[in-house]
Amino acid sequence: MAFEFELPPAPNQEVQPEFGQQDLVRRSASSVPTPARKLTEVAKLIDVSKCIGCKACQVACLEWNDRTERIGFNYGVYDDPVDLTAESFTVMRFTEWVNPETRNLEWLIRKDGCMHCEDPGCLKACPSPGAIVQYSNGIVDFDHEKCIGCGYCIKGCPFDIPRLSEVDHKAYKCTLCSDRIAVGQGPACARTCPTHAIVFGTKEEMKQHAAERIKDLQSRGYKNAGLYDPPGVGGTHVMYVLQHADKPEIYAELPKNPKISPIITIWKGLTKYAGMAAMGTFAAVGVLHYLVSGPNEVQPKDEENAKRLAGDR
């Protein structure tokens, strides 16, 4: 029996093109004026249940971003490279998981990469003004001209995403193809995905699309299917449809409730102000003490005493 199946068109939407510096809502280590307009929020939706692990997205990502991954090693696993690198902004993470309820082996393939958090930890940790920016459409982008390679973004990120390049010592991560989106095209990975597991559009549309997918998965027995849009980081602009949304950690340790580490919050918050207050107080007390008590000078009688002690010998 001939079986023909044509994939329905991916719901990749054209979104408001042409955004730029005027649309920044956050800028690392500096402030930006409130933008005059608010762009429609965009999102990439990754449906893990549809992913076949072909790695076309990885290839498209390298291709579009003009990166060359070094020849790797075979570690005996499907993951290649085994981790994100300064070249590979996205990596498929393969997990063989035995569902304890059905005793079925499930092959969970999660496309890892920047989640484009609404509350970006990388940006909050970055010390270089303007090296990390967030646009009002939700894209978090790195400006490599301004990146100084300190690696603070790695410590700020709740998802362990940015990687320092050993070549130019700058941090790299997925840009959500901001340069493509700015001219009205979807991200390279979404455009290339053969099963439409990766789709791109406005965040609202993607949520609606996810809701349909979740309904479908639930009807097929995945009763815990759901959307991964973690509220701890204010939601993300890369979302997952997970078959087991109650256990995100089974997908190669996707954090259950990611949020900016409190250590980072204290470091970039309290420590900064308390430190300034402490140093300021020490300096001010010094100045004040000098003004009040004046210099402590050696008196002639001290010199006389010294002479009496030492002079006759």
Binding site: A29, S30, P127, S128, P129, K146, I148, G149, C150, G151, Y152, I154, K155, D160, L164, H169, S261, I263, I264, I266, W267, T271, K272, A274, G275, M276, A278, M279, F282, A283, G286, H289, Y290, S293, P295, N296, E297, V298, Q299, P300, D302, E303, E304, N305, A306, K307, L309, A310, G311, D312, R313
Partner: protein, 233 residues
Amino acid sequence: MAAYDVEQGDAVHPGDPVVVDRYTAGARVNHWITATCLVLLALSGLALFYPSFFFLTVLFGGGDWTRTIHPWIGVVLFFSFSGLFVRFWKANLWRAEDGTWLARLRYVLTNEEDKLPEVGKYNAGQKVVFWGMSLLIIVLICTGIVIWDQYFYPLTSIEQKRWAILVHSLAAVSIICVWIVHVYAAIWLRGTFSAMTRGHVTGGWAWKHHRKWLKELVAGKSADHTAERKSVN
């Protein structure tokens, strides 16, 4: 003679005024290398910690260079300070009079030194600075290595790096405060600076601030003379 806390090179020269050698040329060079490193580290560190101080990176050739050079200056400081530590630790051991001196700190601040116990080469304040610097430098070099991503990234987890960077900044702020105390004391107490520039102070200065040390030096000198006389005889 068992030296109380007289260091190598300390000597008293009678005259008008009496001149007391306090720091050898080696100690002074060692000190100023450390001091230069500390100031450069503070400037580059503040640039990386406070966005409002990021402009200080121009002093180091931009952000990339600041990030590159800061840890190396730290390494130089660590070894340089180690030299100072070896030179000074013995004379900085805590003595009975130090507690009394510290308890009467308000008399220090009001210039009523006659109400203070006589102290040796270093007073309790200087000892606190010395040990504070020593401890903080150890903390800074250890946490600094943890966050030196260019060379040591794979050795620690991200969580460990987060703790390291928090502790590093707290220690850095603390050492800047200690440094302010150190520099202020040198400015406020007139006659102190020459100890670290030309290596000597006046007898009056030693009498006023470190009488026990001066007395010991004088006693040691007379003991030397006695010894010399004995050998001549």
